[in-house]
């Protein structure tokens, strides 16, 4: 099986009655192993929801989700927690680091939580790659936003997880810092054969990926291989046009 993670006919509904929102509407996707997949779509299209459900942070209303061969809906809270700890890495848009822990402690946090000793050589490589060797004993509050996100990426990679999920990891960064973070994710795929799934609404960010999935109104509407920023932008404009038409109707 070549998919690192996948969902099948995934449905996620929020609220009840009049306020019911269908955030995912029978979505089926596969995230290929050792590949960089970007999930794009307008705001509110269900990108984050898809990621949360695929990563075991949330449960589906209907349909199924797998991480490798493990079906998530069969797991309880404790198993999901252990799965996240051992087989998934996370990078969020903001607030990625525990403020009371140093950079090094933040990187090894998932391993420490499991009581596992980090592989020193691997840790050393990671520190080298993210370029924060001289900052290891600093607190997150002493780092810039870009540096903080690089630490978050290092933490996500530290346990050599099956998949790294990143939700708008560059959303709060300027383009240069953002480029560094995306470069890190890219090289993780290329040199370490890491599977990465990244949610973004920035075409330039999506261009780092191998594949781009387009979501709209909770449905998968398109897939693009070998994306460039221009092609992604054009595709997005098409959505906006359709949305405007839909709104006018």
């Amino acid at each position: 099986m070549s998919a690192a993670a996948r969902v099948e006919k995934a449905v996620k509904e929020y609220g009840v009655g009049d306020t019911r929102v269908r955030a995912l509407d029978e979505v089926s996707v596969e995230f290929a192993a050792a590949r960089f997949t970007a999930v794009m779509g307008p705001s509110g299209s269900g990108k984050s929801t898809l990621m949360h459900c695929a990563a075991g942070l949330d449960t589906l209303s209907d349909g199924r989700a797998w991480l490798g061969d493990t079906e998530l809906s069969a797991l309880g809270d404790r198993e999901l927690t252990l799965l996240r700890r051992e087989r998934i890495g996370f990078v969020f848009q903001a607030f990625n680091l525990v403020p009371t822990l140093t950079v090094r402690e933040n990187i090894t946090l998932p391993l420490d939580l499991g009581g596992a000793a980090p592989d020193p050589a691997w840790l050393d490589t990671l520190i080298e790659v993210v370029g924060l060797r001289d900052r290891l004993h600093h607190r997150p509050s002493q780092l810039s936003g870009g540096q903080q996100q690089r630490v978050a990426v290092a933490r996500a990679l530290a346990g050599r997880p099956q998949v790294v999920f990143a939700d708008e990891p560059t959303g709060n960064l300027d383009s240069r810092s953002g480029g560094e973070v995306l470069g890190l994710l890219r090289s993780a795929v290329d040199t370490m054969h890491q599977s990465v799934v990244m949610v973004t609404h920035d075409p330039a960010a999506a261009a780092y990926a191998d594949t781009v999935l387009f979501l709209a109104d909770g449905r998968l509407v398109d897939t693009m291989r070998e994306p460039t920023a221009e092609r992604v932008l054009d595709r997005m404009k098409a959505f906006d046009g359709r949305r405007t038409r839909a709104g006018a109707r």
Binding site: L57, F92, F95, E105, G115
Partner: protein
Amino acid sequence: MNASVRIGARSLLAHRRRLVGTVLSIVLGVAFLTGTMVLGDTLRANFDTLFADANAGTDAVVRSADAIADPGVPGGVRAPLDDALTAKLRAVPGVGAAEGSVQGAGQLIGADGRPIGGQGPPTWAGNWITDPKLNPYRLAEGRAPAAPGEAVINRGAARTGKLHVGDTTVLRTPDPVRITVVGIATFGADADGMGPSTFTALTLADAQAHLTPRGSGQVSTVRLRSDSLSQRQLVERVRPLLPSGVEALTGADATAQSTADVSGRFLGLFTTLLLVFAGIALLVATFTIHNTFAIVTAQRTRENALLRALGASRRQVLGTTLGEALAIGLLASALGLLGGFGVAAGLKALFAAIGFTLPTGGTVIKAATVVLPLLVGTLVAAGSALAPALRAARTAPLAALRDAAVDEAASGRSALLRGALGALLVAGGLPAVIVGATRGPSLVLTVGGALALLLGTVVLGPVAAATAVRVLGAPLARLRGVTGALARRNAARNPGRTAATASALMVGVAVVTLFTVFGASVQATLDDTVSRSFAGDLAVTAPAAGAGGSGVSPKLAPALAALPEVRAAAGLGRGVAQVDGHGKQLDVANPGQLAQVTDLGRVDGSLADLGADGLAVSRTEAAARGWQLGTVVPMRFADGPAAFTVRALYRGGGVTGDYLISRQAWQPHRVQDSDGLVAVALRPGVSLAAGKAAIARVADAYGNPQVQTRAEYAESSASGVDMMLSVVYALLALAVLIALLGIANTLTLAVHERIRELGLLRAVGQTRAQLRAMVRWESVLVAAFGTAGGLALGALLGWALTRAADSAGTGSFALPAGRLAIVALVGLAAGALAGLRPAARAARLDILRAVAAA
């Protein structure tokens, strides 16, 4: 509605769950305060009713004018009157009835051979007053005593002692008197007795024989009644006929005096003690309230900044926060007020449970009891919120645009200022405490120093908190891995908050420790006293007159001395006299015999030569007053002045007090003679058990006093301390509870504040159990900080109090390691308990709500 008020009201409603802890701590503190006041007022009213009932038909009381203050007897000791005065007064025109009244201590023995009552409430004996209006007692059964040996007892005593009309029993006066119960009386129309006291009424001649010094022709007071004159007129009419040294006062004044005597001494002490504990509870509550508002306003920084940016004045922001505090304070105080009425009942039950019966009667609620707690509770709330409110008012409008920094570490300058101020207070307080305790000793200096020290510790708390938590938590990180390390850092991340939270517990634990150390020291002192100065083998005791008994008969010691098993037996009686204007307790003994059973250390002069006008004084008391052998000391007894010469000096602080006179010297001044202790030394070769049995056989005929070995005697003299400690612990439990509420509250708020961080931890793989453990350990660490501080401070203050209260310098100091270890354990366990709910709430947290909030 005013905008500030509206905003305040809205945020009150929005944060109501967060304010639960605050409300609860005010409710508890105010309830305690109210309960204390209600109990005080109620008891005062109950006593007043009791004395008014006792004097209901009496229009005037005639008695000796001079009273010698005696710590054991409310109102002091007065010399008896000549009974001839009664007849003389009865003949005065306008006097309807005049009767001599004899009153003394009389311990009644129940059907089972055990004393009835005798633990606090007085046990009275006297004559049956024949005029029904002058006598507050009414016969419920049987008849009045008419012949020698006949007695009427009050219904309460009859019930407790299972005595019925026709039964015979013993009355200890303290000489054992065989009596036959011929009647049972109620107090007033229907009460079982005068409060919880017992009363045995004999014929006048019997009462005089057993309760007055001369044995006949004397009465304690003369009670008068008139049908034609007002109380005042009656007093005016009889006053010119009284011999010198005798006074007349109206029945109303006599009642007022009796109430004042009890209120001033017993009730005053009692309510002051309770008020101190209410104050401690409120002080602890202050920390909790302050913390809650500090956190809530910190969390609301953005909101306040937005308000300021939109044009709200500082004063409006201040008003909003303060108004909120006032509203909470008022609401919680009102709830506390209601709870206080329940607390009053609970306190009474607590004292009853430890065998300390208080008079019954309806609850009295005065206006002040409603207004004062409301005011105090509201002011405490507003006062505690003042600093956070001022900080909120200073919020810069720009803070709305910045990411609100929730964890504010003390900035360099303010930390320095705080450190300097705290150090100053500690530097001033510590020497004051030590000097006050050792030189002098001066209670004022010690207490002042202790307050400065406490304040200094609280001020220094935030400076010390980070380091202390890091040190205390060091083993945690090693034992519990990353969970422990996180707990330790969380506890240290906001030292100000941790310190304020821990301070509340610190105050509670410090007071608990203080009393534990002080109590243990008092016990050790009593123990030492007995082992150092009691050279006998056995001790015979009975509660003394002031302690609700009648003491041991002075005839017992000679009777025991005659036993073949006994080498020596000496009775130690109690007298009172005024020295230098102050009532002093005297020990009365046969000095020659006393020396055989007690060790008075090195004696200067001669104890054997005290004679009828000689005085033996402890060396410390003599030094304090500048007396030497040969100094003539003017003393004043109930029956008048007498000069005594200091003939011996001895080591004080033993079973004997500071003054010792011979029986011969006390004889002319005594009112009702009794011994507090009979010390017995056995002949060589007689076993303790055999000696004890022989003594018990003789003592049995003297109303069954307690016969104890030396060790038992030492233990029982210290047992009162245990009772005091258990009451103090029960009262302090409330303050500790409030402190724990404070920890729980702060943690709940912290969990709320760190919601995204907790979400992140959960997202990257922290299990719920790990999260719970993290919060719980943080709670334990904060508690450990407070407990450690409280133990250290309390032990130091306990030492100081022990030294300062020990003017003779003969007391011992004890650090009860076992008990203090229990205090420490309870503090830690309570910390874990306080963390349970916040931990459970944190574990229920929705990860997505935390991480998705970008």
